[in-house]
């Protein structure tokens, strides 16, 4: 059996790629995709610990997160399309309406 550290490193790598994508990319669709990467990093973590501790609850949780990610992608894309219709842009730095 592979030591758990490998899994955790893969997970960390995926998380960092996703986080950097969220921070640095301007296109909101790519930001959404980066969020998917972060969620997948979480899933790998959950599944790895589930195996390690011999507890099935972690894997069930991962399945929930997959479903949640699908819902989040649908809602997120919907918001983006609505936003595009109003403002004709999908660039993150032009979305500054939340400002004071």
């Amino acid at each position: 059996m592979m030591p758990i550290g490998h899994y955790l490193f893969l997970s960390l790598a995926l998380f960092l790629i996703g986080a950097i994508g969220v921070i640095s990319r301007r296109n909101v669709i790519i930001v959404l995709m980066s969020i998917e990467l972060i969620l997948n990093a979480v899933n790998i973590n959950l599944v790895a610990f589930s195996r390690y501790f011999g507890d099935i609850a972690g894997q069930v949780f991962a399945l929930f997160i997959i479903a949640d990610a699908a819902a989040e992608a649908a809602v997120g894309l919907g918001i983006i399309i609505a936003f595009f219709r109003n403002r004709e842009t999908v660039l993150a730095d032009e979305m500054d309406l939340l400002k004071w």
Binding site: V22, D96, K99
Partner: protein, 712 residues
């Protein structure tokens, strides 16, 4: 007065019928059909006529001394006690009706002529717009006129007086879209108001002198409780407080006469009546010939007790009347509009009536008023029928020979002409003779000249001249109508011709009430009126007029007939026998002709003396209004408000608002560091989250390390 009977106790119904019908026209007239309008308006006047007839016949059956019926409906004006020359008096003007010989003559004339003219109007106005409006005004006129003649006091008479003035204005301007009609209405109204000022002042002087405006206390339950002018006057003369010729009587009489001259179109207030011909012809007949314009005569006769005591005022009335009579008669000769000729003829006849009043022949004046109401209304209605037949043509120069085409109209017109000119046997002869005989008499008695009688008889000749001229121009000679109109001439409908026939009857016979003067007896008409016109018995008694000898009476009649014949002969020569003669005559005296055609330039003189001066004043006032009131006052106030609001605005902006802004600005300043994080860009928030995560991980790093170590 115990057994008065239905008609006398219901005297108040006579003016009420037309008033109710007026109200119906006012509220529902627009939605009623013509038949319904006829039913209400003509029916109400007919009911008034029946009640008037019943009341007068009942009055007639009473003994001569009791022929006064008075009825007080309610106390109308009660201003309280008033200081008068007789001390404090509790002044009351009631809404009450008085039927005595004088008002019974008037009420019969008004309702009878009024009814016939209402019937006539059904035909005349059939194709006019505003049918219900016309009849509503006409009915309101009937109400006002009946209030005027039946009033038991001077104030109520004045109310009726104003009512008829209003109706006159409304009906002259009936075709108000036509500028000349609207202007004529205004002119009539304004000229009448000038007279009304005099009337009102006279009324106040009467009230202040006698402490009452009620004409008489006769016919009331307790004569002592209700004093009347006649009684008050009598006691004042008896106590020698005032006497024959007192200046206060002259002032009263002259002020009241100003009012009478206004409504009856006497010099110098005659200018409105010819213009009033702009109204529909039935209106000219009813208001401006038969009834309203005679109201001045009626009022002076009603106040005869005062007039009899002031010889100066009487002479002025007589002079104004005689001057108006001859003045208007000369104008009637040159007018070419049929209605204008009749208008001047009305003014002239009214002048005759005032001449009668002025020489103390009040009964003769009222007699002439009655006969005149019949034949002048007939003349106007016949003229209306001619105009109707010719589809609106009023110029007599374009008529001629009409007796063949419209015979039913021509016969009444011929009889009316004979009546007004004074041809023996018809009504005008008797009443004009009465006036002239009294004028003759008065001057013999006062040992003066015969000028008034001479003017009167020349006026009669002129009347014959212009009336026969009218007759010849319209009905005789060759037709001067345009060819294309010849075929359109049509006789008027029955509703118009039947009233003409009835009026013809009265124009002939109404004079016969004075028939016994032919054999030297007193006129029954005068005897009937005598109780109303007796006045106050005084020891001076200058006015009591004896009859002439029979020879003088017949001589005066012969003179009258001679002048009528002269007028007839002149008219025949000038207009029928040799029609070119009158144009030649006019050409040989162009200046006289111009003077007459321009009506002695009276309108022009009034324009330059009063109308234009008032216009100048208005222009000056409008300049003052524009420059001073508007410029300095209104615009100045506006400028002041503007400037002060500017200052207030500056204060608001830089003091009040600045304080408020400061309050807002303070927390804003404090929150500055926090606010810096709120960029609004979600990537930035993500960065903050990661930084926060890194800090947390760094802070709890040893726990993480401990955990990771357990994994092996």
């Amino acid at each position: 007065m115990t057994s008065s009977g239905y008609f006398l106790t219901h005297l108040w119904l006579i003016p009420l019928f037309p008033l109710v019908s007026t109200a119906v026209m006012y509220f529902f007239g627009r939605r009623l059909s013509k038949e319904a309008v006829n039913l209400f308006c003509v029916g109400s006047v007919f009911l008034s006529f029946l009640h008037a007839l019943g009341a007068v016949l009942r009055l007639f059956t009473l003994p001569a001394t009791q022929r006064t019926y008075q009825q007080i409906l309610f106390e109308w004006v009660t201003p309280g006690s008033m200081p008068t020359s007789m001390g404090l008096v509790n002044f009351v003007a009631d809404w009450g009706y008085l039927l005595d010989p004088l008002s019974s003559v008037m009420v019969i004339v008004v309702t009878l002529v009024g009814f016939l003219i209402h019937v006539y109007s059904i035909g005349y106005m059939a194709n006019e717009d505003g049918y219900y409006r016309f009849f509503g005004y006409l009915n309101f006129f009937m109400f006002s006129m009946l209030t005027l003649v039946l009033a038991n006091n001077l104030l109520l008479l004045f109310a009726g007086w104003e009512g008829v003035g209003l109706c006159s204005y409304l009906l002259i301007g009936f075709y108000f879209l036509k500028k000349s009609a609207a202007d004529a209405g205004k002119k009539a109204f304004l000229v009448n108001r000038i007279g009304d000022v005099g009337f009102l002042l006279g009324l106040l002087l009467v009230a202040a002198t006698f402490g009452t405006v009620r004409f008489t206390s006769q016919g009331l339950g307790d004569p002592a409780a209700f004093s009347g002018i006649v009684q008050s006057l009598g006691s004042m003369v008896a106590q020698h407080v005032l006497s024959y010729g007192s200046p206060v009587f002259t002032a009263m009489a002259l002020l009241l006469f100003v009012g009478a001259a206004g409504i009856s179109a006497q010099i110098p207030l005659h200018v409105w009546l010819p213009d009033a011909m702009e109204g529909p012809t039935p209106v000219s007949a009813l208001i401006h010939a038969a009834t309203m314009v005679a109201a001045g005569v009626y009022m002076v006769a009603r106040m005869s007790a005062i007039y009899q005591l002031t010889p100066v005022a009487m002479d002025i009335v007589a002079l104004v009347g005689a001057a108006t009579a001859i003045f208007a008669a000369t104008l009637a000769v040159v007018q070419s509009d049929i209605k204008k000729v009749l208008a001047y003829s009305t003014v002239s006849q009214l002048g005759n009536m005032f001449l009668a009043l002025g020489v103390g022949a009040f009964a003769a004046g009222i007699f002439h008023l009655m006969t005149h109401a019949f034949f002048q209304a007939l003349l106007f209605l016949a003229a209306g029928s001619i105009i109707h037949s010719l589809s609106g043509e009023q110029d007599i120069r374009k008529m001629g020979g009409l007796r063949y085409t419209i015979p039913v109209t021509s016969v009444p017109f011929i009889f009316a002409t004979l009546a007004i000119t004074g041809v023996p046997g018809l009504s005008g002869f008797f009443s004009e003779h009465e006036i002239l005989a009294h004028a003759f008499n008065r001057h013999i008695m006062l040992d003066r000249y015969l000028a008034l009688w001479a003017v009167g008889i020349v006026t009669t000749g002129l009347t014959a001249l212009y009336m026969f001229r009218l007759l010849f121009e319209i009905f005789y000679g060759r037709s001067r109508l345009p060819i294309k109109m010849e075929g359109h001439i049509h006789e008027s409908p029955k509703t118009m011709t039947v009233p003409l026939m009835i009026l013809t009857f009265f124009s002939i016979v109404s004079g016969w009430l004075a028939l016994p003067i032919l054999w030297g007896e007193e006129s029954p008409f005068e005897r009937f009126l005598e109780p109303s016109l007796r006045g106050v018995e005084t020891d001076t008694g200058t006015i009591s007029l004896g009859r002439h000898t029979l020879l003088a009476e017949h001589g005066l009649m012969a003179a009258l007939v001679a002048f009528v014949a002269l007028g007839f002969w002149l008219a025949y020569k000038l207009y029928l026998d040799n029609p070119k003669l009158h144009t030649k005559l006019a050409e040989s005296w162009p200046r006289l002709r111009n003077l007459l055609v321009h009506k002695y330039y009276v309108d022009e003189i009034y324009d330059s003396l009063f109308v234009n001066r008032i216009k100048d004043l208005s222009t000056a006032l409008s300049f003052f209004d524009a420059k001073v009131i508007d410029g300095l006052g209104v615009d100045g106030a506006g400028w002041l408000a503007h400037v002060s609001s500017r200052i207030a605005m500056w204060l608001d902006k830089w003091v009040v608002e600045a304080l408020v802004n400061m309050l807002g600005w303070f927390p804003k300043f404090l929150s500055m560091p926090v606010r810096m994080f709120q960029t609004g860009v979600f990537s930035a928030y993500a960065v903050f989250i990661l930084i926060g995560l890194a800090i947390l991980l760094g802070y709890y790093g040893h726990h993480v390390q401990a955990f990771v170590r357990t994994l092996h």
